[in-house]
Symmetry: C2
Subunit: 257 residues, 2 copies
């Protein structure tokens, strides 16, 4: 039998405290963030991510009773109003949980394929790129300075849970790239310069890094100067460019062995 | 010298009438739609799309004076409040125009590469796929039943103007596919069935069609039954699937000759 408490009002102290996690600074202070919807919560549970508090409404409880029975030991039954207060979407999907931010290990294994994001600002793009990197078999994604917050609800939703499947690290790329290069992995940038190569002419690799830049401006000059080789995707039609997440998907699936 | 009228109030009759174009049924009734921002309007002008009315605020007028002088002959100077009323985004980008919906020609040339959308519901996905099809050198995109409206502001924004670069047609796929097949183009579906082939093992083609399905459910059974060959993208990590626009990008760039 579960221990079950009820919260009807969004003025409840715990709910008010939890709602603060919609702001980045509170997420950083408390090293925790909000997960919305059963899909993300299930992925977190499957990945042994520690959930501090769990809030479920009656509909969620009914729809997911079997999974809840099997996987959760302690949660709050909350009103639809409370769930709406905690969720970023107008129709919350039955559950919101407080998850613990996992600090990356000190010694990260640098082998494998890495996706590095240089100022990718749109949460949807960042989340989708993490999902795609997972699907392509990448080892990890590094969110460089200026990139969207991993724990933004829109980023989380776009990952579809892939943040629990591979390493996702927030670190300045000018620190990470030298370590990658020292480990022997070539670092590919994406830019149109005279020495850039058609991405389709690069042999497939096991160990490498691919850097994607900002939606409008592309990669910063500082990071461009650190790459071993820049790549471009030939545009055949009249489009000026590709969406950054689409470009990342095309190159990731082409490069990885 | 330009003819220039001013509209200060969003209660102005023309503004109230124009605002109705935010709804699909009015777009269909009047065969017109709203374009937001100078990038989309410039692409429309470059493609000789007829603009019925143009609304610009003071900031837009100042920032784009040279282009306006050269390209526009008749427009309204409107208050920020008026522009906000017409735009879908909280910070409208200086201009909103009423554009005419162009009916497709009766006899469509079916050669080349075609992207067919079977119930792709998200406007951002549909717009991004049109942009990617343009960049990959596709001839056209067919929005099948259940797919997001091309003239939804979010679809338009995601196309980045590519809707003016290639053919975009709304037509039922069960009508369009037989004509494509009759013209000799193979039609590839995307699905995981026992006979599906790895997309990377298909020889590049000039004339073909690729069908992408709904974000959650994939292609409908009816359309699946009409394809010549189904393709899949091998997933190497633990992601369950790829975003549909990412999958489309990967396969389009791989298949087209």
């Amino acid at each position: 039998m579960k221990y079950l408490k009820e919260i009807q009002s969004s003025k409840n102290a715990l709910i008010k405290e939890t709602k603060k996690l919609q702001q980045k600074k509170y997420r950083q202070q408390t090293k925790s963030y909000l997960l919305e919807g059963f899909h993300l919560v299930q992925e977190a549970v499957a990945a042994n991510v520690s959930l501090k508090e769990i809030f479920i409404n009656q509909r969620g409880l009914t729809e997911w009773s079997e999974w809840i029975e099997k996987n959760l030991t302690d949660y709050y039954l909350v009103s639809d109003e409370v769930l709406k207060t905690l969720a970023s979407q107008p129709t919350p999907q039955g559950i919101v949980a407080i998850a613990e931010i996992i600090e990356p290990e000190n010694e990260i294994e640098l082998s494998g394929a890495w996706l590095l994001l240089d100022n990718v600002q749109d949460p949807g793009n960042v989340g989708t790129m993490i999902r795609t990197a997972d699907a392509a078999g990448f080892t990890g994604v590094v969110l460089g300075q200026g990139s969207a917050d991993l724990y933004n609800p829109k980023t989380l939703r776009s990952t579809q849970g892939s943040l629990f499947h591979l390493k996702v690290i927030s670190e300045e790329l000018n620190q990470f790239i030298p370590r990658l290069k020292q480990s022997g992995s070539p670092v590919f940038g994406t830019a149109l310069d005279v020495k850039a190569k058609d991405y389709a002419n690069i042999d497939r690799l096991e160990n490498f890094a691919l850097v994607m830049g900002n939606e409008g401006q592309g990669m910063t000059a500082e990071i461009l100067a650190m790459t071993d080789q820049n790549l471009y995707i030939p545009i055949k039609g009249k489009a000026e460019s590709l969406n950054v997440a689409i470009a990342a998907g095309i190159v990731m699936f082409q490069l990885i062995k």
